[in-house]
């Protein structure tokens, strides 16, 4: 897939390139090619057996009417499941919710993660502690976290409404109303994954040679300019990586909205925060319609491919215009 080609980092947009170790140039790879197959073989062997096979099986199932209870008596329905999927409002509702929750949760999340990673890259006392601590949300049981967020956003007794009340703002139904509930779900997502992304950025920052900062400073670049011309270009492959990962994650989101409705798979009483991932979960496990759920899985796949391509296109255009 050509999609990955632009992942090659752009050359550092600064001066004094010659003295600094620099990222690989576009399209250039080192010799020793054949051995490459040997290196990727173990990966693909395991991968083919335990990931690709179930994936292809899912495609087959999506063309059948199957329930787990009667797994061995599936009937061929062709594209019937896809037709049913697109003709119900459940799919379109979930599609739009996935899009909006995806945007609300991903954009601030990545910006914050970048900022936190930048701060954590300073010389700090207790550096290891802080670096581990920001990953805690990912380590804490999601169930425990949801209990707390449900408390915070409780329409009657929650701290959030209490605070709103304090500053004379109207109270909000964080569970029943559409946008507030989507914001609440996004808050859980943001809380959970910001540290995760920050850590990935932090790893990326380790590879930035600090001499580059010195060099930029000598050339009279301010802090913001240093960030823009040294940090950002160096992190570009990592940023691209997190954008792709987050897009995929957002499109497959289901755990947070599932728990936000006490483990019910309907995404709120009016489906106000039903996502595609949760819809698939509902179809497959709650409703026991594996064929329909598999059709949703494959539809999601195509949507995600499109979303990633759009993101890549945007990033690439920015790169071009940014030069």
């Amino acid at each position: 897939m050509a999609a990955v080609a632009p992942a090659e980092p752009a050359p550092v947009a600064g001066r004094r390139r010659s003295t600094a170790p620099r990222p690989a140039k576009r399209g250039r790879r080192l010799p020793g090619g054949r051995i490459g197959y040997v290196y990727v073989l173990p990966f693909f062997a395991v991968f083919a057996a335990f990931s690709v096979y179930p994936w292809l099986d899912t495609a087959w199932v999506s063309l059948h009417n199957v329930r787990l209870s009667t797994y061995n008596q599936s009937t061929w329905v062709g594209l019937g499941n896809y037709h049913e999927l697109f003709s119900t409002h459940f799919f379109w509702n979930a599609f739009l919710n996935t899009l909006t929750i995806g945007i609300i949760s991903t954009v601030p999340q990545l910006c914050m993660a970048l900022g936190i990673a930048h701060l954590l890259n300073h010389r700090l006392r207790g550096r290891t502690f802080f670096r581990v601590a920001i990953l805690m949300p990912y380590a804490t049981s999601l169930a425990a976290a949801t209990v707390i967020f449900l408390e915070l956003f409780d329409p009657h007794t929650g701290v959030v409404n209490w605070a709103l009340h304090l500053v004379h703002l109207p109270e909000v139904d964080w569970q029943g109303s559409k946008w507030p509930s989507q914001i609440a779900v996004s808050a859980i997502v943001t809380w959970r994954w910001t540290g995760y992304n920050a850590l990935i950025y932090l790893a990326g920052l380790q590879s930035v040679d600090t001499q580059l900062y010195d060099a930029a400073a000598i050339d009279g670049a301010g802090r913001w300019a240093q960030f823009r011309h040294v940090t950002l270009p160096a992190l570009r492959p990592t940023i691209l990586f997190t954008i792709i990962i987050s897009t995929i994650g957002a499109a497959q989101l289901f755990g947070e909205p599932l728990l936000y409705h006490n483990g019910k798979t309907d995404g709120g009483t009016m489906g106000q925060y039903q996502t595609l991932g949760l819809l698939m979960y509902q179809q497959g496990w709650t409703n026991d319609r594996l064929g329909l759920a598999s059709a949703t899985a494959w539809t999601m796949f195509l949507i995600i491919v499109c979303a990633v391509l759009i993101n890549l296109f945007l990033v690439r255009r920015r790169e071009r215009s940014g030069r």
């Binding site: 009667t70 049981s141 169930a143 949801t146 329909l292």
Partner: protein, 451 residues
């Protein structure tokens, strides 16, 4: 993934339970678990085998055999048998796992718990994968001891195959907060309430009085949710969600029609608290008094105690009545897969567990009402009182209801159908959705399940 108790329990699910025998004051000495009922097991001897054997028992939710000491008792009776539980908290997860293993024919436990929410599916699609209790000499001889409907729900329509032996049932009454009714200036003794709550019309009229009371606790509502009324009343019809042949039949069911009428009426009268059952807010309401009454199967007694804690003791009581007639909520069976590794030992164990003596123990220790009618009639059950629930004669109350219960046909998708309808009821309560719109939304969600 979450696995804490605030996560919703499946509505039809769960034989939740009472925390230990402390609350059940047996009227007379309980009968010990003597062992004479199932002595001629299928294989060699009463334990099914003479070899040292570990029997695995797949369970979900709150069966509580281990906590009632039955595993230890069985090990004493059959020293060569060791029992190991294989637990999954949520019955939905358990059921997915069981279905996967049935489909592949591998990984099954020696004994598998079967819940009322999916027993129809097991009977319809997997009857050949479970030991047929009609063919097991001891069990079929004891058939008459079980409530007939309990036996029938686990049997194919011709009655030839029976996939599980009954453990418990869930006869329903009304649990209420004595102190809240008193505060509102309304009667609060069980006998009076039984007369005033005989029908749903009476019950709702009483609710309006509660709502109108000037002295009631501020913000408190009469009943926890419209769903509570609905999911009780729907089983009082000739049909609930399915017709006699077990096919989904929501739009023309008399049970659904009546239940929808009363529950939306209650919602629109504003006498419901609009809480979603088994949500954290609902759990808290057991101690903060956000509602005064709810429909209450036997296992709910344990749930209430778990949520309200010691402070709730004496505040809660149980009225010997269920508006609109007696019915059931919940209950389970135990089945033995034909591919079980230790089939004979498993059969012997299930026979022993579902025998009268052990069902009495489960009531005394865990508040599980017996599905064995002889056990239900045992003085240890019939004369039990609950100190926590203001000394209510729970044995008598639930026993009387269990004797009169009407059980409509059940089907494959009852859990999901009920979920769709009660979710829409929440919208009627909290969002002011019109009942007609809510009903058609529920039907379109149900269509997603039934295909």
């Amino acid at each position: 993934m979450g696995r804490i108790s605030t996560r919703r329990r499946r509505t039809t699910a769960v034989l939740a339970a009472a925390s230990a025998g402390v609350m059940l004051l047996a009227g007379c000495g309980g009968s010990g678990s003597s062992s004479n009922s199932a002595d001629q097991g299928a294989g060699s001897g009463p334990c099914g085998t003479k070899a040292n054997t570990t029997v695995t028992v797949g369970l979900f939710g709150t069966f509580g055999f281990k906590e009632a000491g039955l595993w230890d008792a069985y090990h004493k009776r059959c020293p060569n048998i060791t029992i190991k539980e294989d637990d999954v908290e949520q019955s939905a997860d358990y059921w997915t796992r069981l279905k996967t293993r049935l489909a592949s024919g591998s990984g099954l436990d020696d004994v598998q718990g079967i819940e009322i929410g999916f027993v129809a599916d097991v009977v319809k699609n997997h009857a050949d994968q479970f030991v047929n209790w009609n063919k097991v000499p001891n069990a079929s001889a004891d058939k008459a001891e079980f409530f007939p409907w309990k036996w029938d729900l686990a049997s194919t329509s011709d009655g030839a195959t029976t996939v599980g032996l009954g453990t418990d049932i869930g006869p329903e009454a009304v649990c209420y907060r004595k102190d809240l009714l008193k505060k509102a200036g309304l009667p609060s003794d069980g006998a009076t309430l039984a007369k005033q709550w005989a029908t749903w019309d009476d019950y709702l009229a009483f609710g309006k009085k509660y709502e109108a009371s000037a002295t009631k606790q501020a913000g408190s509502k009469f009943v926890d949710s419209a769903a509570s009324i609905f999911s009780t009343a729907v089983y009082q019809g000739q049909e609930a969600y399915d017709n006699a042949s077990g096919d989904p039949d929501v739009s023309s069911s008399d049970g659904v029609k009546t239940a929808w009428k009363y529950s939306t009426e209650a919602a629109q009268d504003g006498i419901t608290a609009g809480l979603e059952q088994f949500s954290p807010t609902w759990n808290k309401a057991f101690s903060n008094g956000a509602f005064a009454t709810l429909a209450c199967p036997t296992w709910m007694m344990g749930y209430i105690q778990g949520q309200a804690g010691k402070a709730g003791s004496g505040k809660w009581a149980i009225a010997p009545v269920l508006p609109g007639g007696a019915t059931n909520w919940g209950g389970s069976w135990l089945g033995v897969p034909t591919k079980a590794a230790h089939k004979a030992a498993a059969i012997a164990l299930v026979e022993w567990l579902s025998a009268k003596e052990q069902q009495v123990t489960m009531w005394e220790k865990g508040g599980h009402f017996p599905s064995n009618s002889k056990a239900a009639a045992d003085p240890a059950v019939a004369n039990a009182k609950s100190a926590y629930f203001s000394n209510a004669p729970v044995g008598k109350i639930f026993g009387a209801i269990a004797d009169k219960m009407k059980i409509p046909p059940i089907g494959l998708y009852d859990t999901q159908i009920q979920q769709a309808l009660t979710t829409q009821l929440t919208n009627v309560e909290t969002k002011g959705t019109s009942p007609d719109k809510a009903f058609s939304d529920a039907l379109s969600a149900i269509k997603q399940v039934t295909g």
